[in-house]
Symmetry: none
Subunit: 204 residues, 4 copies
DNA sequence: GATGAATGAGAGTTCATTCAT
DNA sequence: CATGAATGAACTCTCATTCAT
């Protein structure tokens, strides 16, 4: 049996992400995490001190994935409106690729954001996407395309929730509405609604 | 001590709504529910059989509150566009007034909608708001105001998630964006974005 | 199976006295206490909240046995010197009859008296024997038999430790000295040394 | 990192003395000992085989400190009574200087002397102080100063417990009696009681 | 000789559920 | 109908001990 602290610690975190995002804090089982990580419970307590702390590490880890959403797109667009559209697309893609992130954020919201509020690290997490949005709005106003009173916060909120809710409400609404979220036409329609809502808001 | 089956059963449900919406299924405690309901645990098992069944009763109960969102508004508007706007307002008001509903829906989404999917009752729950939306879209198309390809499902999805996410993301995004959701200006802006997104989508 | 909260609670305490006096706090096992008490661990936590609190209850209980050492002897003696002698005998008898008390006091001393110091109840425990000693010294001084500078505290300390150490050192010293503490001659000799030490101290 | 078997072994013992005397066998932690000793747990198991054996080594070590209580004083006194007094003083001083010894003896008493009884080494430990006492009593009887029936064991027992209990009961009795054992007047009084008790016992 | 990662048995504690009263 | 004492399985966490490096 190979001994490798780094790897074991990483395995535990990976397993914890899976377990916590699947079951939430209360529903998650330390035993299950140990089993998934291929180690025993003692290791978890050695490296993460407690279930609580491990959970916090998971939150922090997931928030960090958000900061990897690169901001390069900003250079690709000269038109601020197109830039906003591109950000919407980008964020939809990101959430689609990171279902754990979606779930963890949901758990945190139900948990009333205790971990987020408690941790200055999390509050100061770099979110390039926010910078992107801010910059797009600023540019649009400078160019005289967007109205002067447009708030980048309102845009960010609408953009993020518009994308997020497509994934966070994926188990109840579709049942009631009898729709299939994997249907790309439906996705395109929804994106279009989000984009045009923001566009209207920004328009002079 | 008064003996009253009806009342005891109702007290338990009320307490369960509070406990489950606050803590979720795994985090909820049968003891806490009994205490809140002013009865003992035996009663809970007598009336609801198990924690699981009680949870399902809570889900069903909350879905029913949704069906109380009256549909009378439909008569008040001749213009389909205005009607849609009114429905948005109505739904925001409803969610604001029913925080437990918001939370329960979130728990169910994290629970992958197991209860919703398992229960035909829940799938067939009457949601007058959906009827409303459907009717508004139908009327708009009939009047030649909305485009023929407009799907009432897309509208319903955007409308419901647009409102819902204002309340469901209330503990994480505001921290990161540094905004106050109770600020009525912010609320008005967000509603406007949702409304105009839908309007654009529907427009011919 | 009979259900009786009072009795179960009492059984737990009795079992806890045995377990804690035998093994000390760290060595005691909640499982063992439950088994001895003829109940399951849940009951212990329902009635005593935690191992720690249960231990404190045991300490308090043992201290109370001390307060049952009645003070009636005081009336039986007119001579203060004889009274002191009688108290010595009485306390030896008490300790002989209460081996759990001896052990608990020893654990507390090793525990640096944390429970005693933490609890105002314990500090204010009625110890009639102390009153007795105080009264005897006072009377002896008033009668002109004891010296004026005699301190009842010094007497109490010598008396109590003189008796206590006969039982608290019963497993090491006898081995080294090769003596048998159950030998009544040895006991009489030791009592005599304690008594005459105090008598000398008090003598004018 | 220096490799030094002797030194590591000694460090472990020193750390173990501290840990075991502070917490007792059950409360002591092997981890804590390793940390204190500046080594890792493997070393402890290499040199001492088990927690149990290490504990026994600690007991043995502490008993040996007792044998260092030199017996030279015997030459300094021609009067056996004075010699006894000197031994009392000496033993008080020894215990004051060796708090770990006091505690270990107490743990062993609570442990019902298992280690002492199990080990022939410990039973045969040289205790010069006992020799001293024996010699003093012998001499006093030979000189016709002490009574013929005087037993050196009774003297030893009274002397040792008289001194020992001043330190072993230092956390409970003082609280109840409201006295300060560091007050030198109180110490002198107590010593005097112990000495005069023995003196009376020995007197013809 | 030395390290500290890893183990597994077992400790304290919680909780859904049952059942005598 | 109602109570809350009792149960036992399962949970979080600890710790003496081993072993690959």
């Amino acid at each position: 049996m190979e001994r490798n602290a780094e790897r074991t610690k990483a395995n535990i975190l990976t397993a914890a992400v899976a377990e916590f995002s699947e079951k939430g804090y209360a529903g998650a089982r330390v035993d299950a995490i140990a089993k998934m990580a291929g180690c025993n419970k003692g290791m978890i307590y050695q490296y993460y001190e407690s279930k609580e702390r491990l959970y916090e590490s998971v939150i922090a880890y997931e928030y960090q994935t958000l900061s990897k959403l690169e901001a390069e797109i900003i250079q690709q667009y000269t038109d601020p409106g197109e830039l906003i559209d591109a950000i919407v697309d980008k964020y939809f893609d990101f959430l689609l690729a990171h279902p754990d992130f979606v779930k963890i954020i949901m758990w945190e919201n139900l948990n009333e954001g205790r971990s987020v509020k408690a941790s200055s690290t999390l509050q100061n997490v770099k979110a390039p996407i926010l910078e992107c949005i801010r910059e797009a709005v600023r540019k649009g106003r400078a160019d005289g395309i967007f109205k002067e009173t447009a708030s980048s916060k309102a845009v960010a909120f609408a953009l993020i929730t518009g994308a997020f809710s497509y994934f966070s409400n994926c188990h109840t609404l579709p049942v009631i509405l009898n729709v299939d979220l994997r249907d790309s036409d439906f996705l395109v329609s929804h994106k279009e609604i989000v984009k045009s809502g923001i566009r209207s808001y920004l328009k002079k």
